[in-house]
């Protein structure tokens, strides 16, 4: 078995003492930056890249990769505990994870996230080892038109993120897309919606929007409530998932893993969609859709698995083709070059120890993350017992410092306040921030690919229908839209009939 030989080579490389050590350093740092709002994996990898120049190439890559997927793990912790997502994927985890925390079930939510991530990491590692080159060649079939349709599909699917009506969710998505257009146009450099404010040229910062809409709005909501004003949770029901919980998370973890692993392969932004799509799928096929948004453990387990699987398979284009899927991967390309390895399709043959060592290290990293995170759950849950009048100023302080440190730009801190108030108003109007955030993240991707597809086709919009992948995705989008809107129409008619009676 060639695969077994390769894996043996991989593990013999990854299990070298210094490689295990730096793998641990990587996932530990990753968890830390994932937990802290503001600082993200890209910044951390960029900062530490020069330090790794003196390492062996494989050691350097193992550590940098560890930071990346470790951060995906850590990001869910603050999302669950204090409704503060640091990455777009964690915003989905916050929906049900934080509800669970409010109900005194932060422990099971954190455990579901950790276990789901571990399973996903393991499966994705196997996928990487067994099928990386064929998966990569499939990913290359995606052109700008296909990405446009994929993102559009993702946006429509995300209507499911909302508890309320489809119309309000659509309005929130549209608002998010519009907010995403602020800043300089990537094709011409023309500033848009900047109102002559130099600070807006780079666009609105994602972290400001997420921290404001989720974290600060949540605090405002808690402060008006007598009970939550003292502490988020007065009682902790259980620390570990119950037998019922365990039964309920198995299928979502497996589905999320499959979905995430597939989407993560796409270099043009598939990993961004993974957690959102998984959430939508779980809500759609659940027998208890009404529980989603009110503390359904499936809504934590599925997206977290999808997110971690995608984080891992997004290495496929990098390792097999030498093509980066996102900024962290672009930095990893730099690490290859610095170490005298020409990134490209030949790495897998020229540097087998490096390729398989990195893959094996990902599984080791996932084990380390599980060992690191499960014991921490008790500690995290205890944090929620801090009196709220002490906790909430701390949350705001850390969020403000984290956001400010991104760009030393006071404007980003003002933006937190602005989006905090906006988020509070939206909650009061029964509009939910999650679809808005998704629109904000996917909007620029949607526009970029729409325009690129039309540039390449010389303005002929038929490309979206003549390309098979794009046509199929658009058809799915239409189905998703009908499925999302139908119940609303039906319900409204039911209400009308009820009134007539």
């Amino acid at each position: 078995m060639e695969l077994l030989d390769n894996l043996a080579l991989g593990f013999s490389t990854a299990l070298l003492v210094q490689n295990v050590l730096y793998c641990f350093v990587g996932v530990l740092l990753g968890t830390a930056v994932g937990v802290l709002p503001g600082i993200g994996p890209t910044a951390t990898v960029a900062m530490l890249l020069p330090i790794t120049f003196s390492f062996e190439p494989v050691t350097a890559l193992i550590m940098l990769a560890g930071i990346y997927y470790g951060a995906q793990y850590g990001g869910s912790t603050t999302a669950i505990l204090i409704n503060l997502p640091g990455e777009s994927s964690a915003a989905v985890t916050a929906l049900d994870g934080h509800e669970m925390a409010r109900q005194g079930r932060a422990g099971p939510a954190l455990a579901a996230a950790a276990i789901g991530s571990f399973v996903a990491g393991t499966v994705a590692t196997v996928a990487l080892a067994a099928a990386a080159p064929p998966l990569a060649s499939v990913a290359l079939k995606f052109g700008p038109a296909d990405y446009f349709s994929l993102v559009l599909f993702g946006l429509i699917v995300s209507i499911a993120l909302a508890r309320g009506t489809a119309l309000k969710a659509l309005a929130m998505i549209a608002l998010g897309v519009l907010l995403g257009t602020v800043g300089q146009d990537i094709y011409t450099g023309t500033p848009r919606f900047v109102f002559e404010q130099r600070e807006l040229y780079g666009g609105i910062d994602f972290v400001s929007v997420a921290v404001g809409l989720f974290g600060v709005a949540e605090i405002l909501r808690n402060l008006e409530n007598e009970q939550t004003r003292t502490a988020i949770v007065s009682k902790v029901i259980n620390l570990w998932p119950t037998r019922e919980d365990r039964r309920r998370i198995v299928a979502p973890i497996l589905r999320g893993t499959g979905l995430g692993a597939a989407l993560g392969v796409l270099p043009g932004g598939g990993h961004v969609l993974a957690s959102f799509t998984s959430y939508a799928v779980e809500k759609r096929i659940s027998r208890r859709p009404q529980e989603f948004g009110r503390g359904a453990i499936e809504g934590v387990a599925g997206p977290e698995s999808a997110n971690n699987a995608a984080a891992q398979t997004s290495f496929i284009p990098l390792l097999t083709l030498g093509l980066p899927a996102h900024p962290v991967m672009a930095l990893m390309i730099g690490a290859f070059i610095v170490h005298g390895i020409t990134p490209g399709p030949n790495v897998i043959n020229d540097e087998p120890a490096l390729f398989w060592g990195l893959i094996a290290s990902m599984w080791i990293g996932n084990v380390l993350l599980l060992l690191l995170n499960l014991p921490l759950i008790g500690l995290w849950v205890r944090m929620l017992r801090i009196p709220y009048q002490v906790l909430f100023p701390m949350i705001i302080l850390f969020a403000a410092i984290g956001t400010y440190s991104l760009n030393s730009n006071a404007y980003d801190v003002y933006a937190i306040a602005f989006f905090g108030i906006l988020g509070y108003i939206l909650i009061k109007c029964g509009c939910e921030p999650a679809p808005l955030l998704l629109g904000f993240v996917l909007g620029p991707l949607l526009e970029e690919n729409l325009r690129r597809a039309l540039i390449i086709s010389r303005g002929d919009p038929s490309v979206f229908l003549t390309r098979p992948i794009s046509a199929a995705l658009l058809a799915l989008a239409v189905v998703a839209l009908v499925v999302a809107v139908l119940p609303t129409i039906r319900r409204r008619r039911a209400v009308v009939f009820a009134e007539e009676d």
């Binding site: 600082i39 993200g40 890209t42 910044a43 960029a46 900062m47 890249l49 020069p50 120049f53 290359l140 079939k141 995606f142 052109g143 700008p144 800043g183 300089q184 990537i186 094709y187 011409t188 450099g189 023309t190 780079g202 666009g203 910062d205 994602f206 972290v207 270099p267 043009g268 284009p317 083709l321 030498g322 093509l323 980066p324 996102h326 900024p327 991967m329 672009a330 930095l331 390309i333 730099g334 690490a335 070059i337 610095v338 005298g340 020409t342 990134p343 490209g344 399709p345 030949n346 790495v347 440190s405 991104l406 760009n407 030393s408 980003d412 620029p444 690129r452 540039i455 390449i456 010389r458």
Partner: protein
């Protein structure tokens, strides 16, 4: 992505704090000698500012030469990445730095194109800097999707002339080396092509390998892995000499398009009014570094080579900068690219 630049900015800030604290610590050790004294130069750490991201080609080249240069000068060199706005943020920082030889800038061809691309630059390349010497000229390659019809560079020119309304030319964004090379290709052949901008080389190359766009022009550092693996079709290299890592690839001159000459040339700068003795010391150290066998080998892996010793001098560098400023001002003005 727009979040990236923010993240990078954090790194930049933290790096800056690190450099400042390091410099402070070392000047403490060095006693009262202080900077600016040409005879004792260097008696504290020298910082080379790279106006691009850590791990990029320019950063890599800088780190290669930093160590042998430091050995020759008898001091320490710290490499600092100050990114933003096509390298103009880092260049601006160095232009305003104290002209004592302790702040050095590594910049590439972008030094000569920035005045034509940016409205309010805040510095003048020829007036606000002293040139130290050229470092390397990274060749560019003209590459196409694997199944693109033309077989040779001549065929490509004929093909794009006949199908100007069909062919797509990718680049990594306004002001990127690939964009400049594409502009030069269009002005040389006299054809106006449909350009498809991307956010960086990675996504552009992804779509080229995937066959979504027809061709592009990019540095060997980015393309040689793909060329060697046969994932893209290569037509020519844009330097006078062939590249060692791609021995079968003809030069543009050999392929019949001698006007298409462009390279991503790198040079070292210090702020204007730096004492000439210090500039001379830096230039000497650069020459020694470029003759270092380790540096030559590492550069060869990237598909490039050090410039000849006579070009690693302030005068040759200034002449190159002067000539390139004129060339690009015209090409960019003719292309109708909007300045921002």
């Amino acid at each position: 992505m727009r979040t990236t630049s923010r993240y990078r900015a954090t790194a930049r800030m933290i790096a800056a704090i690190g450099v400042v604290s390091l410099a402070a610590a070392c000047s403490g050790n060095g006693g009262a000698a202080g900077g600016g004294d040409a005879a004792n130069y260097p008696d504290e750490n020298i910082t080379i500012v790279v106006p691009f991201s850590a791990g990029g080609p320019t950063d890599t080249v800088t780190r290669m030469i930093a160590e042998p240069m430091a050995a020759k000068l008898g001091g320490k060199i710290v490499v600092q990445n100050v990114e933003g706005a096509g390298g103009t943020v880092g260049a601006g920082d160095v232009a305003r730095a104290k002209p004592d030889g302790y702040t050095v800038l590594m910049h590439h061809i972008g030094m000569s194109t920035a005045p034509a691309l940016y409205k309010s630059l805040g510095y003048k390349p020829l007036e606000d800097f002293e040139t130290v010497g050229l470092v390397t000229e990274v060749p560019m390659t003209i590459v196409a999707r694997k199944d693109f019809a033309p077989a040779t560079l001549q065929d490509l020119v004929t093909h794009v002339k006949a199908n100007a309304n069909k062919v797509t030319l990718a680049n990594a964004g306004i002001g990127a080396a690939s964009h400049l090379c594409g502009l030069l290709f269009q002005s040389t052949t006299g054809v106006k092509l449909q350009e498809v901008p991307y956010q960086g080389t990675g996504p552009a190359l992804t779509d080229l390998v995937g066959g979504q766009v027809d061709f592009m022009c990019d540095q060997t550092t980015n393309t040689s892995g793909q060329i060697a693996a046969g994932k893209v079709k290569a037509y020519a290299v844009t330097t006078p000499e062939r590249v060692k890592s791609l021995p079968d690839l003809p030069t543009t001159t050999e392929a019949g398009l001698p006007q298409l000459k462009v390279s991503v040339w790198h040079g070292l700068y210090v702020p204007a009014d730096t004492p000439p003795e210090i500039v001379q010391k830096l230039s000497e150290a650069l020459k020694v570094a470029l003759a270092d066998q380790g540096v030559i080998d590492q550069m060869a892996k990237l598909g490039t080579a050090p410039v000849p010793a006579q070009d690693a001098t302030p005068d040759a560098h200034r002449a190159k900068l002067d000539e390139q400023l004129g060339t690009w001002a015209k090409i960019i003005a003719d292309s109708g690219v909007k300045v921002s």
